[in-house]
């Protein structure tokens, strides 16, 4: 039998959904509205998307964002995975504190993260640019990769690796044929999350970006200060679609593993 919640809970979640999704849907709708002056619906158009493609500044920001996202994703995925793997072998005494340290960037507010990184970079006299943004993105997305891969490792337990060893596999063979295939879904979905976070990040990037490293979100912020244009709506729509696709993909990959608990990141 299905358990029924209190009716107020249903209303509450409906309100929540409206609250979260109405603004996003509005942005998407207006990106197709055939008028510069937002407000009334004046028919469907793709003009704003076309003029977006022709805008040199947008394309430059897009390139910056992509380069930063790709590189920071690769590095963060590697580091996060290695941390998760090596954490397993630490003595229980050290596990708690180390785990806390690795989780920290997930919890710390973005503004603090951005500010502290900015302080660090200026102390070390590192000029702000693409590399500083990458370092910043690696710092926080590594934690997310760590969390996802760690969960996957914990779900796997030790038995499979012991079975492999028992059947004559060396340390590396065990890793190659058993551990890695088992955690690959976690690694891939961690990477997709890292990519999405990097692409969408505004706050941290805003602190540590230089003049030559304007990313898409920073560019959008700069434009919005001069008024919301339909091109910006179009750009945001594209970003939203890419993000949702990546997150859904991450979820799909993570759940494809057999006999594992199901994870859900989005409400659908």
């Amino acid at each position: 039998m299905k358990k029924k919640g209190h009716p107020l809970l249903g209303i509450h979640s409906a309100l929540m959904m409206i609250f979260i999704y109405v603004p996003i849907v509005l942005v998407m709708v207006y990106s197709f509205n055939n008028t510069r002056l937002s407000g009334d619906w004046k028919g469907f158009t793709l003009d704003w998307y076309v003029s977006l493609m022709k805008d040199r500044h947008v394309m430059e920001a897009l390139m910056n964002s992509l380069v930063i996202a790709v590189i920071s994703t690769v590095v963060a995925t590697l580091l996060g995975t290695i941390s998760a793997l090596s954490m397993r072998d630490f003595a229980r005494k050290w596990k708690g504190p180390l785990n806390g340290v690795l989780y920290m960037p997930v919890i710390i507010p973005d503004i603090i993260m951005g500010l502290s990184l900015l302080v660090l970079f200026s102390q070390l006299q590192i000029p702000l640019g693409k590399s500083t943004v990458m370092i910043a993105h690696i710092t926080f997305s590594m934690s997310y990769v760590y969390v996802v891969v760690n969960a996957r490792l914990a779900g796997m337990g030790r038995q499979l690796e012991e079975a492999a060893q028992d059947l004559g596999a060396t340390y590396w063979q065990t890793f190659r044929y058993v551990t890695l295939p088992q955690i690959t879904p976690g690694i891939i979905s961690g990477a997709l999350i890292a990519f999405t976070l990097s692409l969408d990040d505004f706050m941290v990037s805003f602190f540590v970006a230089g003049p030559s490293s304007t990313t898409l979100p920073i560019y959008i912020y700069g434009q919005v200060k001069r008024g919301i244009s339909p091109e910006i709506n179009a750009l945001c729509t594209l970003l939203i679609l890419v993000s949702i696709t990546l997150i859904l993909l991450a979820q799909y990959v993570l759940n494809r593993g057999k006999g594992q608990k199901k994870h859900k990141m989005l409400p659908f």
Binding site: Q159, L160, E162, A163, A164, Q165, D166, L167, G168, A169, T170, Q173, Y177, V178, P181, Q182, G257, K258, G259
Partner: protein, 326 residues
Amino acid sequence: MIELVEIEKQFQGQVVVKPLSMVIEEGEFLTLLGPSGCGKTTILRMIAGFEQPTSGNVVLAGKVVTENPPNERDLNLVFQHYALFPHMTVEENIAFGLKMKKIPKEQQKQRIAEAVAMTQLTTLTSRYPHQLSGGQQQRVAIARAIVNKPKVLLLDEPLGALDLQLRKNLQTELKHLQRTLGITFVYVTHDQEEAMMMSDRIVILNNGQVEQIGTPKEIYSSPRTLFAATFVGENNVFTSPQGLFAVRPEKLRPQRSEESSMKSGVIQDVLYLGNVHKLMVELDQVGEQPAMTVTIVLDSTDEESWQVGERIGVNWNPKDEVVIQP
């Protein structure tokens, strides 16, 4: 084949396996029998190399292997919870050990075919473990081990999760397998009937301590400790001024008159179990000893009709008394 020299295991200072020495012969079927938590798995894991003994040594085929990792020991373990690789098919699971040892492809094929036939998995080779029933998974785990033709096979309650029918079938199959392949089996179970049926020798464990090592017949007819006497088969334990002794239920004789009998009591229950029947008799209190109930097993040659509530005498032959340690 295997020699355990004073191996002891502690977890966080708590003794889980008390110092244990024994020799396991080549081709022997040895069973570790004991209640849950008595240390059976821990002993197997020390032999396989997954746990380091706190002290003592493991000798395998004349070589001290205490420090060697599991992949350098010529034996295989069938895990209590199967531990099949979920991302590999049945065939890939079985092939794993051969692949790691770089056995030539042709030979791999042949050995896999043999193992698959022996465990009756022929039609299931391309399935994934999650598409198999518990019994089938169990057979894959066994096939994955025997395909390597190890000198020693360690089995941790391999039939624990199966229903009675399948269990009986696999018991005979395993025993047959062990005879034909001549592999040394170290078998863990907490089922005393299974242990009696399959083993050449049984090690009775309790609380990390060996209570007795012996053939099923020795264990049954001359248990040495109270635990061994009562854990394997039914038993009646009596106290005498000299200590404890046990008499098996089938060695007790009921007698209609109480006179000149060794004990007397009242029948509490009569149970008919097909070919045998059982009397539960509450013995009269003698002196300060607490009241006790004994079980008497009578075979079908007994034609008397025993009534509940009847007062009877109980006798036995003193040579059937087995002196046991508390």
